[in-house]
């Protein structure tokens, strides 16, 4: 019995209806929910226990964050389109949409960099108070997730020709799993934006 007999890499399991990698991605996302869940709980406990807590919009740049929200939502759409292109067997379209996704993610990071450097310029650091502490921790960790997504998506883009030629089904499955991750990262931002900037 050889290792090539590891089943359900390309075809979904008849009972669960999904492939190994998709199940693994959902499980991984469950850990991510618990990670950010823990941090959000910390945020709630710190805020409830604080005698006064600054209003996010007084210190943070709401227009830039709104723009960033739009950037991430559009990148989610292009991510779906890149997967749909593979499902419709069009590699050039996949490359176009995947490049767009990566570029939009970079735009997000650039805007985030502008926000961060402005805060540092005003001498607002994580140590200033717990509001900025949790702001930098949550957005920093989210930024690391964005960077992780960029790295993985770039890898898929650079190896697309080979993977598509050799294992088209497996490749499509991988892009779908990467898409699940990317939507999750977007979703975290959808929570972060109102919690930190608006409330």
């Amino acid at each position: 019995m050889s290792l090539d007999l590891i089943k359900y890499i390309e075809e979904p399991h008849p009972l669960t209806g999904i492939t190994n990698s998709k199940l693994a991605m959902w499980l991984f996302l469950a850990t991510e929910v618990m990670l950010f869940g823990g941090l959000f709980s910390a945020y709630i406990i710190l805020r409830v226990g604080a005698p006064d807590w600054p209003h996010g919009s007084e210190y943070l740049n709401v227009p830039l964050a709104t723009a960033n929200t739009m950037v991430l939502i559009i990148s989610s759409v292009t991510m779906v389109m890149s997967w749909a292109s593979l499902a419709m067997k069009s590699l050039p379209k996949f490359k176009f949409y995947m490049t767009m996704t990566i570029l939009l993610a970079c735009v997000f990071l650039v805007i985030k960099y502008i926000e961060y450097s402005h805060k540092f310029h005003l001498e607002l650091y994580p140590s200033t108070n717990n509001f900025f502490g949790i702001y930098f921790t949550l957005t920093g960790l989210h930024g690391l997730h964005i960077i992780g997504g960029i790295l993985v998506n770039t890898y898929f883009l650079l190896t697309a020709n080979k993977s598509w030629a050799e294992h088209p089904k497996m490749f499509t499955g991988r892009i779908e799993a990467a898409g699940l991750y990317w939507h999750f990262v977007d979703l975290v931002w959808i929570f972060l934006f109102p919690v930190l900037y608006l409330l």
């Binding site: 007999l5 590891i6 693994a24 469950a30 990670l35 869940g37 709980s41 502490g133 930098f136």
Partner: protein, 578 residues
Amino acid sequence: MSQDHHHQELGFIQKYIFSVDHKVIGVQYGVTALIFLFLGFCMMMLMRWQLAYPGEEVPILGGLLGSGWLPDFMSAGDVDASTYNTLGAMHGTVMIFLGVVPLGVGAFGNYLVPLQVGAPDMAFPKLNAASYWTYFAGGVVMMLGFFMPGGAANSGWTSYPPLSIFASNGQTVWLVGMVLLITSSLLGSVNIIVTIIQLRAPGLSFFKLPFFVWAQLVTSFILLLAFPPLEAAGVLQLMDRVAGTSFFLPTGLVQSNMPLEIAGGGNSLLWQHLFWFLAHPEVYVLILPAIGIVTEIVVNNTRKPLYGYKTLVYSGIFLGFMSFLVWAHHMFMTGMGETMSDFFQVTTMIISIPSVVVLTVLIITLWGGSIRFNVPMLFAVAFLPMFAIGGLTGLPLGLTASDIYFHDTYYVIGHFHYVVAPGTLFALFAGIYYWYPKVVGRKMSSFWGKIHFWGSLISINLVFFPMLLQGISGLNRRMYDPTFYEHGASIQSLNVIISYAAWALGLVQLIFILNFFLSIKFGKKVGDNPWQATTLEWATPTPPPHGNFLSEPTVYHGPYEYSVPGRTEDYLPQHVQA
């Protein structure tokens, strides 16, 4: 995966070091974890010296370790207060996160789950290797703390702030090591869950799975959901230490009569909640694989079907679920409020029910069997009363009224060590003796195995039972000089007895280590199924080749078909059509 990958002869490094074969990775996990267990044991021996003979120089080792190559560690040759704190924190961390869990989940889970579900490997072999190497890196990083000024982490394995925020840099290294270990656990548990759900052999429905696989499934879900909040807490504590935030630091802290220059406004209890949200489920991560191993061995050696298979499975699932709802019973004394304490007392009493059900099922399984008392069975049977003592001594700690008295005494130490050391560790020893023939092709010596068993059983009880008595007498834990207070000095003789027992326990383990290595070469050769067992791992060649089964097995029966009427043999393997 390349098509002709398995036809090539692999070099030594690819085959044994950077292997992606779940069995090699399982053995790597096992050997590394045993080395860490030994290290953790040695740290405990140094602490035992100090507890038995406070302030006296450690013979031989005092000169070796005190010569200064480990900064701030036993600098005067004796176990001074700061060294004692370091040893206490690192003993706990090493034993739990680098020893027992990697042995129970990493080694046994990795080696056995794919075999018992009839799969050629784990679902993600490369991820599996990544999981091992992340664990290895986490262990090495944590040990680096010993070589730093101020020594390794010294704020207890629980790392409570504010103490841990101002501890030496060993604590930062501890946090980085923990993040690596958590990552490793998450990779491993995703892999195990996917393997169990997706890769079961044809015919192997969920209720035909050996209980060991169920235990690994529940354990993996606990790891998956409980570890990330600790990762979150670790990130926050790292920020407190490195970036100067005050997540865990309340306003108005004073150090050496100077007010601290921090923003303040943090919450120390927040750490405890996040920490115990992992660390209580962690208890079940320790105990569930152990129960799984004991079940396999008890059923195999009583030669009759398991009594109440489904009861056991549902209890295991219920244990896993409830383990998320009891964490704050570690925090009764923190002043978190009566409502909270009431809730967690109730859930704590509820979780004891499935634990008792599990023990009852295993004890009734023994009833009326023709029991074979081989070495694995001795350890497995000893697990039952040891785990029972550990569990029952926990009840007074789960009720606030008695916890006020027992809290932070040696009673707590005796209690949880009964669960983990003569409990879980005995089960892991049982597992090593039981599956060793499958891994190596030879049995470990049963004569020396029996000496190891009886020596361990007697000395380990002489170590931990007196601790319960010390606790009842009110002796405080975490004290580096137990004779400092009168009530401690009056029962100091118990500490001397415990230390002698601990050194005897160490000597007996040397027999195990010798037996373990010498049997690779000199053990008695055995066939593919030396214990006449029914589950799928015994249907492979010995040792199983890369890819495990010669052809994909089909499963026809439940896992424990022993003494089936009308058969000449007293067992019916899962893959044999009756």
